[in-house]
């Protein structure tokens, strides 16, 4: 069991963690979630003394962690970070063997353990033990990171956005694997994430944080069904809305776009009397209808024609509305071009459509 007792961590007088008291039960997965900068990582790193609290106490099975020598404490706690941090000059097997080596295990025992863990995380020992980290895919590296944290069979596992850098599909696989793994191992897990779905899927408990404080510490069902306050409701809602957008493809919400062949520009400008739609966007294409530029009209005047790199600006028909939204917000535009094979312009998606999708179901 891990206990936080009035824990405060300040940086230059500003509190990153502000008077947290929590009890994290043994053998359960407890997920810290909240907006960026709310103090999740800070709370996690206080547990294995990567940083020291400004005040308050953290206890591990009743013993204040400050009473245990920091290195010794860390060898007894598995730690997984988003960037994995496999040592690049060591093989997978050596990486998994690091903590056992620090604990003085002999080589034979370390190697047997490494093979056992590779088996456990679903990587064949024969194929993987001698690989170097740069020869692994992102997902494989993450699995090895988890194996490394489990090597000395620590009772506690700290995981800071461990699957954050893996694509959504791979992430789901990793989550499933990790769940079934921990059903067996019964580690006390503290897990930090940005992703509400991940929190719900993995967490026995969810601790929702904001500005260094715990807003709600509850089982997933109650975080969703009985939010303590407006912040929790909004946090859950906004995330839901984005998630929903992932379900719709660009193709089904695409409109005709207004475009102009580059050859028809007059002195580098579109013709004054050119008709456009409400988004104020005009796309410039070449003879093969490949997107090459854009031009905005505001207040009845044309802006400059800007050259663009199609693949940086546009989305493809198979992208989701969520992708389209992030392009829109990133560029501050009212519409994004939709491209098919070879960056040919086939239409556009508008901000108004995306807003309509969310409002139609009472979200946002």
């Amino acid at each position: 069991m891990i206990e936080f007792e009035h824990v405060v961590k300040e940086y230059n007088g500003v509190s990153a963690v502000n008077d947290i008291s929590l009890e994290l039960p043994a053998g359960k997965i407890c997920v810290f979630i909240g907006p960026s900068g709310c103090g999740k990582t800070t709370s996690l790193r206080l547990i294995n003394r990567m940083i020291e609290p400004s005040s308050g106490t953290i206890r591990l099975d009743g013993t204040p962690v400050s009473k245990i020598r920091a290195e010794e404490l860390r060898r007894g706690i598995g730690y997984v970070i988003q960037s994995v941090g496999l040592l690049p000059h060591m093989s997978v097997r050596e990486n998994i063997g690091i903590v056992p080596r620090l604990l003085g295990w002999d080589k034979h025992k370390r190697d047997t353990r490494a093979d056992e863990l590779l088996e456990l995380i679903g990587l064949s020992p024969g194929a993987y033990r001698d690989k170097l980290p740069h020869e692994l895919s992102g997902g494989e590296a993450q699995r090895v990171g988890v194996a490394r944290a489990l090597a000395a069979d620590p009772p506690v596992l700290l995981m800071d956005e461990p699957f954050g850098a893996v694509d959504p599909l791979g992430r789901e696989v990793l989550q499933r694997e990790f769940l079934s793994l921990n059903r067996e191992l019964k580690k006390t897990v503290v897990f930090v994430t940005h992703d509400l779905d991940e929190a719900i899927r993995l967490g026995d408990r969810i601790v929702l944080m904001r500005n260094g404080k715990v807003v709600q510490d509850d089982i997933p069902e109650r975080i969703l069904g009985a939010p303590h306050n407006e912040f929790v409701r909004e946090f859950v809602g906004a995330d839901r809305a984005l998630k929903r957008l992932s379900c719709f493809t660009v193709e089904s919400y695409m409109h005709k776009a207004v475009f102009l062949d580059r050859a028809l520009l007059q002195n580098g400008r579109p013709p004054e009397d050119m008709q456009i739609n409400g988004t104020g966007m005009l796309w410039i294409v070449d003879a093969g209808e490949v997107l090459v530029g854009m031009c905005r009209r505001s207040g009845g005047n044309w802006g400059d024609v800007r050259e663009v790199r199609a693949e940086e600006l546009g989305v493809s028909t198979v992208n989701s509305l969520r992708d389209a939204l992030s392009r829109l917000l990133g560029r501050g535009m009212k519409a994004v071009p939709v491209l098919s094979d070879g960056n040919r312009l086939v239409g556009e998606v508008r901000l108004t459509d995306i807003e309509a999708v969310n409002q139609s179901d009472g979200y946002v």
Binding site: N48, E71, I81, L87, L102
Partner: protein
């Protein structure tokens, strides 16, 4: 049987691979062969002064002396190597230690000063360092070693600092998180990852050192410089040639050895 060729047909046998390498990267094979030939020839000639004299007579006909009377080429080579080995290894030890020290949290305050001082040391011509060392240490071996030592630190120090600073912070973080002590982090994580860059620094330092060591003769430290200077004074190019070529062969072999050593370490990658 069209299109049924087995995959093994496309694999190159060891012999074919060797031939491909001969064509694609001939430097891989030609370099070492030339080098070994050069070293063997040099040693053989140094061990057989009469042969050396014969060769030089052929190349520079009509001179009076072809050999340095005061010491054999073998002795000079030996002296040169000792000069380089002593000053170079001291510089490597001090350069690496200093580099490690100023990248620790306790020594970080000195990082700037150490960098500035050692670049300053490099702008001093080696002869000037010698001139300063002589009044303090007298003539001979000692001032030459000190001058070479001072001169050889910078490349090692510089590379040690940049190598260690380039170690990705997340793997240091992971190492700390696994319970390594600061010393273990240094030896298990930082130095191995930075090793290639550090060895490259030692390589530069030693190669420069071999050339610069010829100046040691000015203060009577011996080495290949003695024969070069004596040749210059007497207008005897056979002597200058002997000294210069010997130093060059030494420098090339040292460079090649360190390049091999460098190659045996992990390549730091920027992508992961």
């Amino acid at each position: 049987m069209m299109g049924m060729s087995s995959p093994s047909q496309h694999k190159l046998s060891a012999r074919e691979r060797f031939r491909v390498r001969m064509i694609m990267g001939s430097a891989d094979v030609v370099g070492p062969v030339l080098l070994v030939m050069g070293v063997v020839t040099l040693l053989w000639l140094a061990a057989n002064p009469s042969q050396l004299e014969a060769v030089l007579r052929m190349m520079f006909p009509g001179r009076r002396g072809y050999l340095y009377e005061r010491a054999s080429l073998m002795t000079l080579l030996g002296e040169h190597l000792v000069l380089v080995a002593v000053s170079g290894s001291a510089a490597a030890v001090v350069g690496i230690s200093l580099g490690v020290l100023v990248t620790r949290s306790v020594g970080r305050d000195f990082l700037g000063i150490v960098r500035d001082l050692s670049s300053l040391a490099q702008t001093f011509p080696p002869v000037a360092v010698l001139a300063l060392a002589v009044p303090a240490l007298g003539f001979g071996f000692k001032p030459a070693v000190v001058a070479l030592f001072v001169y050889s630190i910078l490349p090692v120090l510089n590379n040690t600092i940049s190598g260690l600073e380039a170690v990705p912070p997340d793997i240091v973080e992971a190492s700390r998180g696994m319970g390594m002590t600061p010393v273990q982090i240094l030896f298990f994580t930082e130095l191995p990852v930075a090793a290639r860059v550090i060895i490259a620094g030692v390589r530069t330092s030693v190669v420069i050192n071999i050339g610069t060591a010829t100046i040691g003769a000015v203060v009577g430290a011996g080495g290949l410089g003695a024969i070069i200077i004596s040749g210059l004074v007497r207008d005897n190019y056979a002597l200058v040639f002997t000294g210069a070529v010997s130093a060059a062969v030494l420098a090339f072999s040292a460079d090649w050895c360190f390049a091999r050593l460098e190659g045996s370490f992990y390549i730091a990658r920027s992508d992961r």
